[in-house]
Amino acid sequence: MIKLRDVSKIYCADGHALQSVNLSIDAGEFVSIVGQSGTGKTTLVKLLIAEERPTDGQVEIGGWNITKISQKDIPQLRRQIGVIFQDFKLLFKKTIKENIEFALQVAGEPRQRIKEVVPRVLDIVGLAEKHDRYPHQLSGGEQQRVAIARALVHRPKILVADEPTGNLDSINTEEIIEILKKINSFGTTVVLVTHNREIVNHLKKRVVTLHGGKIISDEVVGKYRL
């Protein structure tokens, strides 16, 4: 599903953000990518969504080599990968329903399908009754649930979550992780980037540890070891 071959990323001459990273993630896996700040976790996410291009190596998503993806094709890629961010990245001048609808509208989905899908997704994340609220009227946990709903609305085969619980308290963190587990149980590949020890140890799933831009461990059922 996701393949990185000898991927390196250099932002400036004096250091590698990622160095010869080889990683293969199969369909339906739940992989946690852990590491301290500045170890290249976010760079890895940026490579997966083509926000950055690798300096060396190849990135493949679902058989699609996106190493040198053209600007024109990037939207197509992003409509196939669900992404959630630490800062939620919601459109603050749109209601939560409009935020989710927007992800379908950009893909040119017909109005009727949007009308059917959006309430369903809102229901899954438990925000059906708050559909007409604006993001600033919701708690952090609720905002992250909106972001998850938006990421899910395309029924992506891959969900990338970049520090999704970084701004949340423990109760909301637990809720979000439960939602991610549920999504994974439906067959979606989940890539969770985090430095939250508790979450990783509790998940008992595959853990890839990054340090200094390199993978230093990759365990099928791993623990947070830094």
Binding site: E51, Q71, P75, K93, V106, G108, R111
Partner: protein, 302 residues
């Protein structure tokens, strides 16, 4: 088609939900258009003043008392054949005397001298007006030939030549100054509009990057801002032009008292409505479009 309708919907939604930013942008566009239109108004009035001064200049050709009507008629026909000549008005010797007396009615000594001479010592007169004061030189030159020496007594142009030259210099300078001022204001307007749109786009930078991350194409992101630019330009041009028309109607009675011609500004606005609205709309739209596209370029690289 569906995407186009969505782009329009998003742009209208954005205008309403960012109302203060939208109103500020429109207000700045209106103010810039008004300042340009004010300068256009000043230019029109300057031109009017120059034309008015030029119209007051003429050259009088005094004929000898012995000059025959046929000879004078020949000179008149000859002068009328010049494309530079606007009018040539013939005054008989009696009319010339009456005009002379009218002109010097406050100078009793001159009038007494005329009386003492007895009869009418003045000949007929031709008053010639040209399109431009500088054309008088050509007219005078055309008349300064030996065959007319015997019938032309005097030409007043010699007395007013220096004044005309001075007026010519002043009017040229005024025209240059008003053109320079309009250009400077246009440049200032360009910079202000450019920065206004840049600031408006800057406030949307996070939104732009989020839209890109969600999978929107560049044109789907750009679209609403371009539609907004179009709507802002239409609203600004309509309001500023409405204000200009109102201001022209309001000012015309005061202006007509100075220039002795009514409806100068209103007539100009009405007769140049397509150029004024068209050029200003095209300029504002091109500027807002170009600025939006330029300002967004950076934020679309996500």
């Amino acid at each position: 088609m569906l995407s186009f309708l969505r782009i329009i919907k998003f742009s209208l939604q954005d205008i309403v939900r960012n109302l203060s930013l939208s109103l500020t942008t429109i207000l700045i566009l209106i103010l810039m258009l008004l300042s340009i239109n004010t300068l256009i108004g000043v230019r029109i009035l300057t031109q009017e003043a120059i034309t008015s001064i030029k119209n007051q200049i003429d050259v009088s050709i005094y004929f000898n008392a012995e000059a025959k009507d046929a000879e004078i008629g020949e000179v008149k026909t000859y002068l009328s054949s010049f494309p530079e000549v606007l009018t040539s008005t013939y005054f008989t010797s009696a009319e010339t005397l009456a005009k002379f007396k009218e002109m010097y009615r406050d100078s009793p000594k001159i009038l007494e001298t005329i009386e003492e001479l007895g009869g009418n010592p003045l000949g007929a007169m031709l008053v010639v007006k040209t399109r431009d004061p500088k054309d008088y030189v050509k007219i005078i030159k055309a008349l300064s030939v030996p065959e007319y020496d015997t019938i032309i007594e005097a030409k007043t142009f010699g007395d007013t030549e220096k004044a005309i030259e001075k007026i010519q210099v002043i009017t040229n300078q005024v025209e240059k100054f008003s053109l320079a001022l309009t250009s400077i204001f246009a440049l200032i307007s360009f910079i202000i509009i450019f920065n206004t749109i840049r600031v408006a786009i800057f406030t949307h930078r996070t939104e732009i990057s989020i839209k890109k991350l969600v999978g929107a194409s560049n044109w789907f992101v750009r679209g609403p801002y371009l539609v907004e630019s179009l709507l802002f330009s239409i609203i600004a041009v309509v309001i500023s032009f409405g204000t200009v028309r109102f201001a022209a109607r309001f000012s015309d009675p005061y202006i007509s008292a100075i220039f002795e011609r009514s409806g100068i500004l209103t007539n100009y606005v009405n007769s140049h409505i397509m150029e004024l609205v068209g050029v200003q709309f095209a300029a504002v739209l091109a500027l807002t479009f170009a600025t939006s596209l330029l300002a967004m370029r950076k934020y679309l690289r996500v």
